[in-house]
């Protein structure tokens, strides 16, 4: 049940983020929408690894090493998402740096004003 809720939320965030990225004309707004979609993707990936009634893949007093197979959830998606979040920040910073450079040289953030690459 919880996995379904989280997955639905993640897909909704992806849709909202895509809509924002494709319908806005300000570049900063497009980047904000991209981060929202990024959060949604991470949420979907973590929700796929969730199993009902199980707990986090960390062994201590609460989960002994012997019974780990029947008690913990899938750790592989978590490891994937962990790296994806850090890379996502790097990508956001890179996009923002290019945005700043674009504004510095052209003086505008509206994509309708940048028509050199249009055909």
């Amino acid at each position: 049940m919880l996995a379904t809720i989280a997955m639905t939320t993640g897909f909704l965030l992806i849709l909202i983020g895509l809509y924002g990225a494709l319908s806005n004309r300000n570049i900063l707004r497009m980047i904000v929408a991209f981060t929202v979609a990024n959060t949604g993707v991470n949420l979907v990936l973590v929700a796929v690894g969730y199993m009902n009634g199980r707990t986090a893949p960390i062994l201590n007093d609460a989960v002994a090493a012997g019974e780990a197979i029947s008690r913990i959830i899938d750790p592989v998606p978590q490891a994937l998402v962990l790296t994806a979040i850090v890379i996502g920040v790097g990508i956001t910073a890179l996009m923002l740096a290019y945005t700043y450079k674009l504004y510095q040289t052209r003086g505008s953030l509206d994509i309708a004003k940048h028509t050199e690459l249009k055909w």
Binding site: A6, Y19, V32, V46, A56, Q78, L82, T92
Partner: protein
């Protein structure tokens, strides 16, 4: 069990609302960035409910300060160029 399902529903509604606030073009850009930051902070609690404390910690450490600062810094530079 029902407790976490209820919290998940509430967080889900809040995240969708803040995502809509972040992507609607009518509000000011600062509010959009703040709402996106809120969506990422709430996603961190959602990760915790999904039994992924590592991911939740990453999202909380990164989404709170770093991303918000990067956005607001560029926004501040752009704003200063426009108004002065």
């Amino acid at each position: 069990m029902t407790l976490s399902i209820g919290m998940g529903l509430l967080l889900s509604v809040a995240m969708v609302v803040s995502a809509i606030m972040a992507t609607r073009g009518k509000r000011s850009l600062g509010i959009s960035i703040l709402a996106a930051g809120l969506a990422s902070l709430l996603a961190s609690v959602m990760f915790l409910l999904l039994a992924a404390p590592d991911v939740a910690m990453t999202e909380a450490a990164i989404g709170s300060g770093l991303t918000t600062f990067l956005f607001f810094f560029v926004l501040g530079r752009v704003r200063r160029g426009e108004h002065d």
